[in-house]
């Protein structure tokens, strides 16, 4: 009957308008998960769902960052914009260890929730769910190293900083192109065998394809543990001796200090040649985690370690430029030394 | 030597079972403890053994209060044959009997040759030497009870206390175990046992102690104490007496 249809249509229309997010939409972005994310008119506050998102946002538009997944320590804040670096801890919404409460998210009233990382079914469903529950646009961008350029462009679109994003994207593209070109010509023999060491005894490593060694793989080096695919794993020293890597990259300070004196490791080629390198980590790790754009400067560092002849550039100058452009801080010589030394 | 409880109040932390009881057992005599279920027989037994502290009064062994005697020395004076023995592990019968020698060594000592020979002798006495290597869990109920008796004997005690020694035995084995109990007294041990069967008391014991609701009903030589009146008062049930006309032995039956 006509009246019934009208009433039902009216009810549906009312429900739809009530359930719709109260944000005026003008455009839509297709994010890395092929989801249609409404682009808010004005973005003044963004909630990062994890460390990679927080770092990415900080580099592009630091003042939009509501807070950090984990509060920054004093030694890290020294290398960040003072008022931004000191913003409060808001917990993490995704990834291992979700500690953010959705109500907290709502209470801080973000215009946008940003997630940068793995794009698989779990994270996609989480994105959809949170967007539906909170009505806040939730963008899921690809956190893989190779996708940095696209991710920057997407983010620029979302927060209305297309020009700035383009600058950063171009830098990233240029860096990656330089790397690829110079390494492309090298025969397999010139590509070093690398062992990536974590943990105080250096016996935790990353297997093939793991996000922890993305940049090492990108540079065409050979991860000795890469024959097996997977994430993190533990090995015995015997296995390392068998692999006999030429270069060791570690993120653990105690291991780096102790390995030169350890008689068991003395036989390893990398130790004999003095090619055990401790990754810088201030304010964010240069090689491993968080797996975000912070690894871009790490590319130069790694490249110089792995192919010293191919990359004669001055790392100090590069560091100064990168920190100014991406972290918005100017470093003096002393600070650069501290960062490169890998200590806290 | 006399094992005695004076002015004993017995029971558990939350429950008083009996009060003002006097019990005495001398070496070479057999005392039967009779009474209905829940009357306090087992509690009294355990108190006399020192396994349960008395709520009042004391237990003495040879004029020495039991509380002042170490657990180890107590085991050399008193042996306990429980009604049933929970066997978690299937120790061979000989090992079970050998455990009776525990109190004769110190905390770390291993069984000596003397210990083994005493254990073997105890098994021989009860005619169960052939069971030495059989797991305890795989012998019959009667044989198990004999193993526990042998264990008690191996302790070389002055007194042997048994809780319902024939309760779970078949009729044939009952007679056998009863004979062994009698022989224990003959060898000079003081024997105390609880039983539900007044006939058993009549045949085996020298004296009887009737316990009901934690109070003494009667005590004394079996012939004078085990009468129909006393038993009816004890069990609060009609009892019939049967007398053998030729031997004039008496037996009791529930009426």
């Amino acid at each position: 009957m006509a009246t019934g249809l009208d009433r039902r249509a009216f009810a549906v229309g009312l429900a739809a308008s009530v359930a719709a997010p109260c944000v005026a939409r003008t455009a839509v972005l297709t994010d890395a998960a092929a989801r249609a994310v409404p682009i808010p008119d004005r973005v003044t506050r963004v909630f990062p769902s994890g460390p990679p998102a927080a770092i990415l946002l900080y580099t592009l538009a630091p003042e939009l960052l509501i807070g950090w997944p984990r509060a920054n320590r004093a030694e890290e804040r020294e290398f960040l914009l003072p008022d931004i670096g000191a913003r409060p801890e808001v917990g993490r919404l995704t990834g291992r260890g979700n500690t953010a409460n959705l109500e907290v998210v709502l209470a801080v009233k973000p215009d946008l929730i940003l997630d940068v990382g793995t794009v698989d079914a779990t994270y996609v469903s989480l994105a959809d769910r949170v967007q539906q529950q909170t009505g806040i646009p939730y963008a899921l961008l690809d956190g893989r190293f190779a996708s940095i350029v696209e991710t920057y462009r997407d983010l620029g679109l979302l927060v209305g900083r297309r020009d700035d994003a383009e600058k950063l994207a171009r830098y990233a593209q240029a860096t990656m192109d330089t790397m690829t070109q110079r390494v492309a010509g090298l025969p397999a023999a010139r590509r070093p065998r690398v062992y990536y060491a974590r943990g105080p005894r250096g016996l935790e490593t990353a297997l093939g394809g793991s996000i922890n060694v993305e940049t090492i793989d990108f540079l065409g080096a050979h991860n000795v543990a890469g024959d097996r695919r997977g994430g993190l794993s533990n090995v015995s020293i015997e296995q390392v001796l068998l692999w006999d890597p030429e270069v060791i990259v570690t993120i653990d300070r105690d291991f780096a200090a102790g390995v030169v004196r350890d008689p068991t490791w003395a036989a390893v080629a990398a130790v004999r040649a003095g090619r055990v390198h401790l990754s810088p980590k201030l304010p964010f790790g240069w090689v491993d985690f968080p797996p975000s754009v912070n690894r871009l400067i790490g590319l130069w560092w790694l490249a110089k370690i792995l192919y010293p002849d191919q990359f004669p550039e001055d790392l100090r100058a590069l560091t100064r430029d990168f920190y100014a452009m991406f972290y918005h801080v100017t470093l003096n010589d002393q600070q650069i030394e501290r960062v490169l030394a890998g200590r806290h | 030597m006399i094992l005695e409880g004076r002015a004993l109040s017995i029971g558990y932390r939350d429950r008083l079972v009996g009060r003002d009881l006097d019990v005495a057992l001398g070496e070479g005599e057999v005392l039967a403890l009779l009474g209905p279920n829940g009357g306090g027989k087992t509690t009294l037994l355990k108190t006399l053994l020192g396994l349960l502290p008395p709520r009042a009064g004391d237990v003495r062994c040879g004029e020495r209060p039991l509380a002042a005697i170490s657990i180890r020395e107590r085991a050399r004076l008193l042996a306990y044959v429980p009604q049933s023995h929970v066997a978690t592990f299937a120790f061979p019968a000989e090992t079970v009997v050998l455990m009776g020698r525990t109190a004769h060594g110190n905390l770390f000592s291993r069984p000596t040759a003397k210990d083994r020979s005493i254990a073997l002798a105890a098994m021989q006495q009860f005619g169960i030497s052939h069971l030495a290597e059989r797991p305890y869990t795989m012998i019959s109920g009667g044989e198990r009870q004999l193993v526990l008796l042998a264990r008690a004997l191996a302790q070389e005690p002055r007194f042997v206390v048994l809780d319902e020694p024939t309760a779970s035995l078949d009729f044939g084995n009952q007679g056998k175990v009863m004979r062994e109990i009698r022989s224990l007294a003959g060898a000079g041990h003081g024997v105390l046992f609880t039983t539900h069967d007044p006939n058993q008391a009549l045949r085996l014991a020298d004296r009887a102690y009737l316990l009901r609701d934690g109070a003494r009903v009667a005590e004394g030589k079996v012939d004078s104490v085990l009468t129909r009146d006393n038993l009816e008062a004890l069990y609060d049930a009609p009892i019939r007496t049967l007398t053998d006309r030729t031997t004039s032995e008496t037996a009791f039956l529930p009426a």
Partner: protein
């Protein structure tokens, strides 16, 4: 005495020696039996060995300590398990029953959370294990009970659950990139990074605890009886119980602090040993120690040679132990009623 224990003990020793031989010759780094013999002979005679220095280094610094640790820990857990099975009158009991493993686990993850050094983490784990059992014992004895054993078990279960919740909480708060993988791997048990320096804090407590338990083995038969019977036979059950629990906890805590949580050894090896020499604790305890060492040696060798990455010991002992145990249940039930 009943049938001789000799064949059973001989088998146990054989397994131990085979375990040692396998452990020394198998590994990711290729080393032959000849190399091992050569290095040993060289050390004894004082002349330099003919093998390359790397091989010598692997034998003395890597495999040697790992073999010793595996044998010690295997023996320790087996002895503790045997003692507890007697004390708790239950053949299904393992050394973890009073919460030693849970306490050590909490200590270790807290140590990892505060980024302590390796030795400090082991120390906190060791203390955690001791403290957990002490707490269980104190709580258990403060409550008066007819059956002190049952009360201990229940308290152990409750305290263990509480400590497990604590472990969960620390894992939740941990940095998921750095600390959490370390905690997870520790909790699964491993001898991967064992060096000579780990043997020192391991040896003392394990030797002391095992010695005490072995010395008390003649009384354990009686301790496996009911409280009343044991006391009637002249054994001071209270103090003896404390001694056995303390010694078993010492060896368990030290083992868990060094190698993480390795289950199923303390449960299965006593049964294997029982099928070899019978239930008499006097023979069972030493046999279990020997057998436990060999058992864990074999499993640890598999853990480090099956693939290029280490398989956590706790997983292997469970995977190997469970079907083994089912087979045991089916075939050797006569050794316990």
């Amino acid at each position: 005495m009943s049938r001789s224990a000799l064949p059973g003990v001989a088998i146990a020793l054989l397994i131990l020696f085979a375990g040692v031989a396998f452990a020394f010759t198998l590994g990711r780094y290729p080393i032959g039996l000849g190399d091992v013999v050569d290095v040993l002979a060289a050390r004894l005679s004082g002349r330099p060995p003919t093998v390359p220095p790397t091989v010598e280094s692997v034998i003395w610094q890597v495999r040697g300590p790992r073999v010793v640790a595996a044998a010690l820990i295997g023996a320790a857990l087996a002895v503790a398990g045997t003692a507890f099975q007697g004390l708790f009158r239950n053949p299904l009991v393992s050394p973890d029953i009073l919460g030693a493993s849970s306490g050590a686990a909490l200590g270790a993850v807290v140590g990892i959370y505060f980024s302590l050094g390796v030795l400090a983490i082991q120390g906190v784990a060791f203390v955690g294990g001791l403290a957990a059992v002490a707490a269980v014992y104190l709580i258990g004895s403060a409550v008066p009970a007819r059956d002190p054993i049952l009360l201990l078990v229940l308290t152990g279960v409750v305290v263990g659950a509480l400590l497990g919740a604590g472990v969960g909480l620390v894992k939740y708060l941990a940095d998921p990139y750095n600390q959490l993988p370390a905690m997870t791997f520790w909790l699964l048990g491993s001898l991967a990074a064992t060096g000579v320096s780990d043997l020192v804090p391991l040896f003392g407590p394990v030797a002391l605890g095992t010695l005490v338990l072995v010395a008390l083995r003649w009384r354990m038969n009686v301790m496996s009886l009911t409280e009343e019977e044991a006391r009637a036979l002249g054994v001071p059950t209270g103090p003896l119980r404390v001694a056995i629990v303390a010694a078993a906890t010492l060896v368990t805590s030290a083992s868990v602090a060094t190698a993480g949580i390795i289950g199923w050894v303390g449960l299965i090896v006593p049964h294997l040993a029982r099928s070899l020499v019978g239930p008499d604790f006097a023979r069972l305890l030493p046999t279990a120690a020997i057998l436990g060492g060999g058992y864990l040696l074999f499993i640890d060798t598999i853990a480090r040679t099956a693939s290029s990455v280490e398989i956590p010991l706790g997983i292997l002992t469970a995977v190997i132990g469970t079907p083994f145990f089912i087979w045991l249940l089916a075939s050797v039930q006569r050794t316990w009623s």
